[in-house]
């Protein structure tokens, strides 16, 4: 009885809800991944998106303006990333990390400067996104209705974006060029496709979705901003992107897994398991699954990584042999 009551419609609904933000940001990262850019700056873009969405919402009293502000802020970060990485050829990881740190610090100090508080912004007239009611859903689906009904708008955006992205990569010219630039830049160059332009566009598209993801975090179910509220979702998205290679369907699968683990851990908490352990569950589950999935397709890389680690360790053990 106890165990069974863990799994129910509510859990599935929670899964979808938890999946949405990470799905949005990961789909954004799919653009840069496909364009051959390793974008570790997703976390920061999402965070400024969340913060400025709250600011915009307070100032204007409109959730929609809030979302627009969040997206604009994320786009500025994405543009900065593109300028440094694409135009100035700076190292992607360094720039991404730097922007993440900047995002974390900036939101904290702005919060202090504007609201005089640390920690979180609650109340203060934040207007959240309304829940979408689909007419007739309850009549047709009955108790299953919450599976498609009553989410905030970004949840729908996230899931609808998946097939759209599939279509985008398959059937549109821009999507095709993004793939070509990532896979074989010299082919793009030879055909007169501007690598720089395509990579800028990909970075900005990424910023757009990351901003939406951020806005969803702070204006979706809970209307508040807390320090570092993206809490590693951007990094999880990066992990999912590495394993999925930016393929929208695989991204969806990875994100659903994470969302499920997240929802499940919340549920476990209500059953009184220690919360610190449980908060680690989604990350552990997702990483383990991703590792297992990718082991099949890339056993060689993993074997070689293990081997080189072994070598490194054995060098440490026998320093005398090193200089012979």
């Amino acid at each position: 009885m106890e165990i069974l009551s863990l799994f129910n419609v509510a859990l599935l609904v929670a899964t979808l809800r938890m999946t949405a933000p990470i799905l949005l940001v990961a789909l954004g990262g799919s653009f840069t991944t496909k364009a051959g850019i390793f974008n570790i700056g997703l976390e920061g873009q999402m965070l400024v998106g969340a913060f400025f969405a709250v600011l915009g919402s307070i100032w204007s009293g409109s959730a929609l303006v809030g979302v627009a502000c969040g997206v604009a802020a994320a786009l500025v970060f994405a543009l900065a990333f593109a300028v440094l990485v694409v135009s100035f050829r700076a190292n992607e990881v360094v720039v991404g990390l730097a922007l993440n740190i900047l995002a974390g610090g900036m939101t904290i100090s702005l919060m202090k400067a504007i609201f005089g508080t640390r920690g979180s912004i609650v109340g203060k007239g934040i207007v959240g996104l309304p829940k979408v009611q689909i007419p007739g859903a309850r009549d047709i689906l009955g108790s299953w209705a919450p599976l498609i009904n009553g989410f905030t708008p970004m949840v729908y955006v996230a899931f609808i974006a998946v097939p759209l992205l599939v279509l985008f990569y398959k059937r549109t010219r821009l999507g095709l060029y993004i793939r070509v630039v990532g896979e074989k830049p010299e082919a793009a160059e030879a055909l007169g496709i501007s690598i720089t332009r395509v990579r800028y566009i990909a970075s900005l598209l990424c910023g757009l979705l990351a901003g939406l993801a951020g806005a969803h975090l702070s204006l979706g179910y809970i209307t508040m901003f807390t320090e570092n509220m993206s809490s590693g979702r951007g990094f999880m998205a990066v992990a999912i992107l590495i394993f999925s290679n930016g393929n929208p369907l695989k991204v969806l699968a990875g994100c659903l897994l994470f969302g499920f683990a997240d929802a499940f851990s919340l549920r476990l908490q209500t059953f009184g398991f220690p919360s610190y352990l449980i908060l680690a569950v989604p990350y552990l589950v997702a990483l383990t699954a991703l590792f297992a999935l990718s082991y099949r397709s890339r056993p060689k890389i993993i074997r070689e990584t293990l081997e080189s680690m072994r070598k490194l360790l054995s060098v440490d053990n026998k320093p005398a042999e090193f200089g012979k």
């Binding site: 549109t172 896979e183 082919a187 081997e307």
Partner: protein, 526 residues
């Protein structure tokens, strides 16, 4: 412009029937002069070959013609009209098309997508894959270039990749087609098919310019030859009036010998012992079937065969790049099939891969970094685990000299080198490794005639030093000059073995075609 042979006539043609005229082209890279006052006149409807040593400036000249590089001096005239070819788009709209030395296809896309990349057929704003496939099929049938438009490029052989590159050019309406070393990656059979296609092109009024290091095929297929040497134009004239020896002399400035290398019989210890080796290809089909052979110290064993008959897979298994599905390959008592690539190198393998740009070098790194790769923890390149860049630089300079790598210096980026010189970088690194076993896949692919000779010299020197050498080549001539024994592969099997000295090319040819099954001589099985 100097003329070194009486057979040469001054290139002269009325504007109406010239497809391409390059006049007084000079191109410098820094202080280095890649093309110096070069003239090239190509008549419409001819096959015009350009020959010259590695680094002679052939590719550079073609890149200028195609708008990929801008000349420092000189005029380009296309179809009798002066043009400034600022970019490839201009060249394409003037009816030029170029098939590059290194292909530029996107592996994950279909053939049709690659053909129409950059000029997609769209309906309602979306790419119309069906129409692209249809159009590709049409083109492929019209010009006799057989491809399956729906197949993914990553699954295709190089020969077919080249057809796609040619289709790309045709789809853009080219009337003059430039091919940079088109046969370097082809099997003799594929080359013959290509020549037939090219003949068809010129018969239809098109013009072909092609670069090659294989003088036999230049003689066989071209109407006119232009020779470049050290960036300068040496001569242009009708092919029929030149012999191979003439061409070599004009290219290299001396005579080059291609006779079988003299040698003493060696009977060293067995270094490599391959037993019942099986492996699968990328599509998981058996590609190597039950191969057994040995290579002894001080011996050169050649593997002949039409490309795609398991040679690549054999090389990859031995180098640890592909798992064996059955069997063993013992290198001095250690089984290569269970070792990782780095362990295999330690066990004593030096490997010159067939695809140098993918597995041979890091194109974006300098020559010295590339030569350093794999020995970053060995003296004299490093001491106590710390790289000694000064020692590395001296080593590099020495190797550049010994292998005659034509570059501006050890810090030159490898990607910038000419194709043949990139090959020399790989050879220099692998041949100086002191490994007991040398695995060389296509040693002289894309390498000029003078350098071919010196690479062959180097292989013979390795043999004399007691190394065991396995040479895989689609160039039968090359194996006949080098090998002590030749194994012939067909459909993944070793069909048989012939003595290098008494080599009977007819018998080898039959085995390459899969005709003499199960006639493996006793030595092979041992």
């Amino acid at each position: 412009m100097s003329t070194t042979s009486p057979a040469m006539t001054a290139p002269e043609a009325g504007p109406a029937e010239t497809a391409v005229e390059l006049i007084g082209i000079t191109k410098r890279f820094g202080a280095f002069v890649a093309n110096e006052d070069v003239n090239l006149i190509v008549k419409r409807g001819e096959i015009h070959a350009i020959i010259g040593e590695n680094g002679a400036g052939k590719t550079t000249l073609m890149n200028i013609l195609f708008g990929l590089l801008q000349p420092d001096q000189g005029t380009i005239r296309l179809n009798g009209q002066d043009m400034v070819v600022g970019d490839p788009a201009t060249a394409i709209s003037a009816g030029l098309g170029m098939v590059h030395q290194h292909f530029k296809l996107v592996p994950s896309l279909s053939v049709a997508d690659n053909v129409f990349l950059g000029m997609e057929i769209r309906r309602n704003g979306l790419i119309d894959h069906t129409a692209q496939i249809e159009k590709t099929r049409e083109l492929s049938e019209r010009f006799g270039l057989k491809v399956d438009p729906e197949e993914r490029v990553s699954l295709l052989s190089v020969g077919i990749e080249q057809r796609i590159e040619i289709l790309k050019v045709l789809a853009r309406g080219a009337r003059t087609i430039i091919l940079d070393e088109p046969t370097a990656v082809l099997t003799p059979q594929e080359s013959r098919e290509l020549f037939q296609t090219l003949r068809g092109f010129v018969a239809g009024g098109m013009t072909v310019i092609f670069i090659s290091h294989h003088l036999e095929e230049v003689i066989e297929v071209s109407d006119t030859v232009t020779v470049l040497r050290h960036g300068k134009h040496v001569a242009t004239g009708p092919t029929s009036e030149l012999t191979k020896a003439d061409m070599v002399r004009m290219m290299v400035g001396r005579d080059v010998s291609f006779d079988r290398r003299p040698r003493e019989k060696s009977d060293g210890k067995v270094v490599l012992d391959v037993k019942n080796l099986w492996a699968r290809d990328d599509r998981r089909l058996p590609a190597l079937r039950d191969a057994s052979f040995t290579v002894r110290s001080g011996e050169v064993v050649g593997i002949a065969g039409v490309a795609g008959n398991g040679q690549t897979e054999l090389a990859e298994v031995l180098a640890g790049l592909r798992p064996a599905s059955h069997g063993s390959a013992m290198l001095k008592g250690r089984d290569l099939t269970v070792l990782s690539t780095s362990e295999i190198r330690e066990a004593g393998l030096a490997h010159v891969p067939g695809d140098r740009l993918v597995r041979g070098v890091d194109g974006n790194a300098s020559i010295s970094s590339n030569l350093l790769m794999g020995r970053q923890d060995k003296a004299p390149w490093s001491r106590k685990g710390i790289l000694d860049w000064r020692a590395a630089a001296t080593q590099t300079v020495e190797m550049i000299k010994r292998f005659d790598i034509r570059a501006r210096g050890p810090e030159d980026t490898v990607k910038r080198l000419s194709g043949g010189n990139i090959q020399k970088v790989v050879l220099a690194r692998e041949f100086t490794n002191e490994a007991d076993f040398l695995l060389i896949d296509q040693p002289t692919r894309g390498v000029d005639i003078g350098a071919q000779e010196s690479i062959h010299d180097e292989i013979m020197r390795q043999r004399a030093a007691g190394r065991a050498v396995l040479v895989i080549s689609v160039q039968l001539d090359e194996l006949l000059t080098l090998a002590d024994r030749i194994l012939v592969m067909f459909n993944g099997r070793i069909m048989g073995e012939v003595e290098g000295g008494s080599a009977d090319s007819e018998r080898i040819g039959m085995m390459m075609a899969g005709l003499e099954p199960k006639n493996v001589s006793d030595e092979v099985a041992s």
